[in-house]
């Protein structure tokens, strides 16, 4: 099998805008799937509403394009009924952390063996560029012309409330670390969350001063650094994988770490 066999290339070009980061995630996901032997007989893709949700349609797998925010209840039910399947959720930050936030909280608690790839572009892209749950404070968006008034949600902190947390942060620029994070997440025997910073040039980047998707990728390249070996949590703009190999006692979860704009949760 080759990587391109994982994709419905006959449906290309995709609907994603030129310069969108989602295709980079799909490419690395397909690469990892090929590497670890995931195919349409052993894997199901569950996607949410938003630009990211279209990914299932472009992959040679059976795929459920759920209602907005409902990837996790659907994915968890599929995994419950068919534990032999690999269940991979691909959803945007708004779908996952805002409208689907309650499900996220409880899936983290129940720790089902599903993999979540969260396309985190810090914006509601498909609807034109409104403030999302991950939008940094002060960002100008369609729905926050004077700057977003609130700190973004602390995804790392939420995931770390799981006794066996798996949280990885990467960007679409850092293809190697992203591939490694996706691979380890798929192999992790529990709830694994990969938080992928990804550019939305058309409905976010230009409004906040970037001239092109390339500039946004350059920004990821220069601003993100690998976390030090042995880190128990990730600082802002750090790449890395945080895994609780040994269960953390209930009520003594790992340090939540700061949210993406540096404010303590």
């Amino acid at each position: 099998m080759a990587v391109k066999d994982k994709l419905k290339t006959d449906l290309f070009p995709t609907i994603w805008c030129p310069g969108c980061g989602i295709g980079l995630i799909m490419q690395q996901l397909a690469t990892v799937m090929d590497e670890v032997g995931l195919d349409k007989t052993n894997t199901v893709i569950v996607t949410g509403i938003g630009c990211t949700g279209r990914m299932g349609a472009y992959m040679n797998f059976e795929s459920v394009y759920t209602l907005h925010g409902r990837t996790l209840p659907v994915a968890e039910a599929i995994k419950t009924v068919r534990p032999e399947l690999n269940v991979i959720v691909v959803a945007g930050d708004g779908d996952t952390a805002s409208i689907g936030g309650n499900h996220l909280l409880h899936s983290i608690r129940r720790n089902p063996n599903v993999t979540v790839l969260c396309n985190n572009n810090e914006i509601y892209g498909l609807t034109g560029g409104q403030t999302g749950p991950t939008t940094p404070k002060g960002t100008t968006t369609l729905s926050s012309p004077a700057g977003s008034g609130f700190s973004p949600i602390n995804l790392q902190g939420l995931v770390n409330t799981n006794q066996n947390a798996f949280y990885a942060k990467t960007t679409v620029y850092h293809q190697g670390p992203m591939r490694r994070a996706i691979k380890e997440a798929i192999e992790w025997p529990g709830f694994a969350f990969v938080d992928i910073a990804s550019q939305c040039i058309e409905n976010n980047g230009r409004r906040i001063g970037f001239g092109s998707a390339f500039e946004m990728l350059e920004d990821y390249k220069s601003s993100y650094k690998a976390a030090p070996r042995g880190a128990t949590h990730l600082e802002p703009k750090q790449l890395g994988i945080i895994k609780n190999e040994e269960p953390v006692p209930v009520g003594a979860a790992k340090p939540a770490g700061p949210s993406t704009d540096g404010e303590k949760a």
Binding site: L11, T41, V46, G56, E62, Y65, P73, A77, T80, V81
Partner: protein, 368 residues
């Protein structure tokens, strides 16, 4: 084989198991919680039966759809407020074509309302609660034995229509205990109709308007209309197999009472005075049957636990005036029925023949 006391909610659960259910997800809500409890207890003893108490009803409704796609017959149980939360998923299930059963044990709404009191205020919600147009099946039993029987039919109809089917009950019926022998109820079970996920294909199960190959059809009105009409025609054809109703009582009366679920039981002592039409399949409306039967009567009165939800539907369908006896605020009593009939001048006089006892008015069930 053995007669025993069975509760309405328990009978629903046992019917689901009989129908082959393999997955339940739910959230506690009165007066449906016994079904959740039954499911959890059953799952503890039968590992092949999967159970999850969800964080909310939105998760429950979406989970049963996911479980069904994965290959299990699935169901959830709730009451009015939870059912409202599930409505988006109902429409999604219709669009995608996913078999599942949602049990709504009705209480008095709106809002949190009267959580332990029986109501029938979800008649329209059960049909029109989700956004857009779809053709849904809704059944409403009125005895504990029927709770068992029609739960099986609901699962069967879900498979045949590939849609979420609604089984209505109410706080009164759900908590009613009756002596029944469920082993004597024999309903053939329809097997799964949907090939489970990861069968080797590359299907896309999408709530978005799509062409058969999965490409978006989000701006193609002709394709949308084609799919919708095909779906509606298919469902209405299937509905002919599920034309369940009861026609009986005093058929020589000049007044036809229409009552369903628990209100039919409450009104039973009036049997000598009125003819009865009890739809068991509330939706799609039993148009042909009702039109033919209603034509024999001068007056029609709907006794129901809402302010005329189904009366309006029947009035609209028959294009003639329909009297209303609403039983509101959980007041499901013969006294309330009599007061309602009195208000519209239809209360039988005590001296009229047959009014002394209802014992001789055995309900003659004519179930198609």
């Amino acid at each position: 084989m053995t007669k025993r006391l069975v509760q309405g909610n328990e009978a629903v659960f046992l019917g689901a198991i009989k129908a082959g259910a393999g997955y339940f997800a739910g959230y506690p809500i009165s007066p449906s919680s016994e079904i959740l409890a039954q499911a959890s207890g059953y799952a503890a003893k039968h590992p092949e039966f999967k159970f999850l108490q969800e964080e909310d009803e939105i998760a429950s409704a979406n989970a049963i759809l996911g479980a069904s796609l994965a290959g299990a017959k699935s169901f959830t149980a709730t009451s009015g407020p939870g059912f409202s939360l599930m409505q988006e998923a109902v429409g999604y299930g219709h669009k995608v074509g996913i078999p599942a059963v949602i049990v709504d044990v009705m209480r008095v709404g709106p809002g949190t309302g009267m959580p332990t009191m029986p109501g029938q205020g979800d008649i329209l919600q059960a049909r029109y609660g989700s956004t857009g147009d779809y053709t849904s099946f809704v059944f409403y039993p009125s005895t504990v034995a029927e709770c068992f029987e029609y739960t099986i039919h609901a699962f069967n109809a879900a498979e045949e229509t590939r849609s979420p089917v609604i089984l209505l009950s109410d706080a009164f019926l759900g908590h009613l205990n009756e002596v029944v022998d469920l082993d004597t109820i024999d309903v053939p079970v329809v097997n799964r109709t949907l090939e489970p996920l990861a069968s080797g294909g590359t299907r896309l199960f999408s709530g978005v308007a799509t062409y058969p190959d999965g490409e978006p059809a989000t701006a193609d009105s002709d394709e949308f209309i084609r799919q919708y009409l095909e779906n509606r025609e298919n469902r209405l054809k299937i509905s002919e197999k599920y034309a369940f109703y009861e026609y009986g009582w005093n058929k020589d009366s000049d007044t036809l009472v229409i009552a369903f679920g628990i209100t039919r039981r409450v009104a039973q002592p009036l049997a000598p005075h009125f003819a009865l039409f009890r739809p068991i399949r509330l939706w799609p409306v039993l148009g042909n049957e009702l039109t033919e039967i209603a034509a024999r009567y001068k007056k029609i009165v709907v006794i129901e636990g809402s302010d005329g939800q189904y009366a309006s539907v029947i009035e609209h369908m028959l294009l003639r005036r329909v009297e209303r006896v609403p039983l509101l605020g959980g007041r499901m009593s013969l006294e309330a029925v009599r007061e309602g009939l009195d208000r519209i001048g239809l209360l039988p006089k005590e001296s009229e023949p047959g009014s002394a006892t209802a014992a001789d008015a055995s309900a003659s069930a004519s179930v198609a």
